[in-house]
Symmetry: D3
Subunit: 120 residues, 6 copies
C-alpha cells in the first residue's frame, strides 16, 4: 500500500472519529448543539459571500488558532464545495502572514489533509 | 477487545505518560516545580468554591485553550472528586459558548476522555 | 471625585459600550445572533450546575484567553447573580494556575472590574 | 461634535498610530521588515483568490485571535479594496462560529471600526 | 510638552497601575501569590541563562501571546537589568517569526514601551 | 528495543515528517516561502543576541503557544547549535511562568523531545 493511500485512510478515519465524538457530545446536550447548529447554518450559507469563501475562511482561522480537528473538519467541507488546491493554498498564505511559524507547520498539516481527503 | 475498552486503555496510557513527562521535567528543575505545586494546592483546595467546581473550571479552561494534555489531566482529577457526567458536560457548554468550533471539537475529545477514564 | 468613583463610572461606561457595539452587530446579522443567543441561554441556565457557577467559569475562561470585554461582560453577569468577592477571586486563581503571568495581569484587571461594578 | 464623528476621528488616529509604531520598529530592523513586507505582498496580491477576499480573511483571523490593532489595520485595507458592509459582517460571522463569545465582542469592535473608517 | 514626554508619562502610569492592580489581587489571595512569587523568583534568577536573557524571553512570549500588560511589566524589568535596544528589538524579531502580523503590531507597541520607559 | 530508543526514533520521524510537509507546502507557494525563509534568516542569525539564545526563545514561544510541531522544529535547531539541557530547561521555566499549566504539559513534552533528539 502506497504511503499516499495510507495517509488518505488515516485522514478519513480521523475526520470520521471527529464526527463520532461530536455526535456523542451533541446527544448529551441537544439544546446547546441545536443552537450551535443553527448558528453554523446561518453563518455558512451563501449570502454576500459564497459558502466556498466562508469555508476557506474557516480553514484559515483553524490554522491560525492551531486546531487540528478544525482543520480536518473544515477542509473536508471546503473540498465538498469544490475548492481548488490553489484557492486552498492561498488561504493558508493569509494564515501564515497573520500567524508566522505556527501557521507554517499547521498550514503544512492542512495541505496534507487537503490532498489526502481530495483523492476520491 | 471492544473499542470502548481499547479507548479506555489508551486514555489511561496517555495520562500516565503525562505524569511521567511532568515527573522528568520536575526532577530537572525542582524549585520551579515546588513553587508551582504550592500554587496548584493553594488554588485547588476547597474554599469559597469547592474543589470539584474548581476542577470543572480547569477542564473548561483546558478546552478553551485547546490543550489536550490539560484536558486529560484535569478530567482525571475531576473524576476522582466525583464529578457527574451532567456537570462535566455543562462545563463543556460554557467552553463552547466562549470558544465556538474549536471548543466543540476539543469538548468532544474531553467527553470521550471523561467516559474512558470513568469506566473503572 | 475619588478615584474609586471615577473607576466605577469608567467600567460602567465600558460595559455599556460593549452592549451598544454588540447591539449594532446583532442588528446587521439577526439570524446569527438569534442562534448565538439561544446557545447562551441553553448553556447558562441552571441545570446540573447553577448559573452562578457557570458565570464564574465564563469569567475564568475570559481571563485565560485574555479578553477584556469578555471579562467586563461576564463579571457584570456574575455580580447580578450574587457572586461573592471570595468566589470571584478563587475563580481567578484557577485561571492563574492554568495561565501564569498573563492570567495574573488580566485577573488583576478582572478584580478591579468586579469591585467597580459591585459598588451600586 | 456628534459621537459618530468623534469615533471616526479616534479610529483614524488609532490606525495612524499603528503605522507610526510599525514604522519605528521597521527602521530598527529593516531586513526583517523587508522580508515580512515581501511575504505580505506575495500573500495578499490577487491570485486564485482576489485581494478583497484575502483582506476579509485577514479581518476574520484578526477577530479570532483577539488582536485589536490587526482589526484596525486590515479593516482599513479591506475598505480601500471596496469591501461592502454585508461582506464584512459575514466574515465576522465565520469568526463567531469559530470563536464564540470573544469573537462576538471583538467582532462588535470590528464593525464599529468598519463604520468609523468608512465614513470618508 | 513633547509627545515623547507625554508617552513616557503614560507608559509609566500604565505600569504603575499594573502594580497597583496586582497588589490588590495579591492581598485577597496571599497564598496563591506567595507561591507564584516563588515560582517567578526560581525561574528568573541567573542560572545556566542569565536573568537578562530570561526577561527578554518573557518579553518575546508576552508579544507572542498578545498581552499588553505583560509587555509593560517585562519591558520595565528588562530595562532595569540593562538590556540594550538592539537586544530588545532582536527578541521582538523572534516573536515576529513565530507570530506574524499580530506580533508585528504588538512588537511595535513593545518598542514604543521600551523607548518610553528607558528615558530616565 | 528500549523505550528510549523507540522514543528517539519516533521524535526523529516526527521532525522528518514536518520537513516533508513544509517542503510540500513550500513547493506550492514558493514566493511566500522565499520571503518567509528570508525573514527566518534575518531574525535568527547572530547579532546583538547569539543564534543559540534566539532558538531558545523560539522554543519558549513554541511551548507558550502550545505548538507541538514548533517545539520539535526549534528543539532540533537548538540542539544543532549546542544548547545544553540546563539552558533548555531554564527556557521552559520562563514559558511556565508566563503560561501556567499548559506550559507545564507542553514543556514536559519539549524536554522529552530534547532528550530524544539529543541522543545521537
Amino acid at each position: 500500500m502506497s504511503s499516499s493511500v495510507a495517509s488518505k485512510a488515516s485522514k478519513k478515519d480521523q475526520v470520521d472519529a471527529i464526527d463520532q465524538r461530536i455526535g456523542a457530545l451533541a446527544k448529551t446536550t441537544p439544546k446547546v448543539f441545536g443552537a450551535y447548529g443553527q448558528l453554523v447554518q446561518s453563518v455558512m450559507k451563501t449570502g454576500a459571500l459564497d459558502d466556498k469563501t466562508k469555508e476557506l475562511m474557516a480553514v484559515a482561522i483553524s490554522v491560525s488558532v492551531r486546531c487540528e480537528d478544525c482543520i480536518l473538519y473544515h477542509t473536508r467541507a471546503a473540498i465538498k464545495l469544490g475548492v481548488s488546491e490553489a484557492e486552498y493554498v492561498e488561504s493558508l498564505g493569509v494564515a501564515i502572514e497573520l500567524g508566522g511559524g505556527p501557521s507554517v507547520v499547521y498550514g503544512a498539516r492542512a495541505l496534507e489533509t487537503f490532498k489526502a481527503l481530495s483523492e476520491d
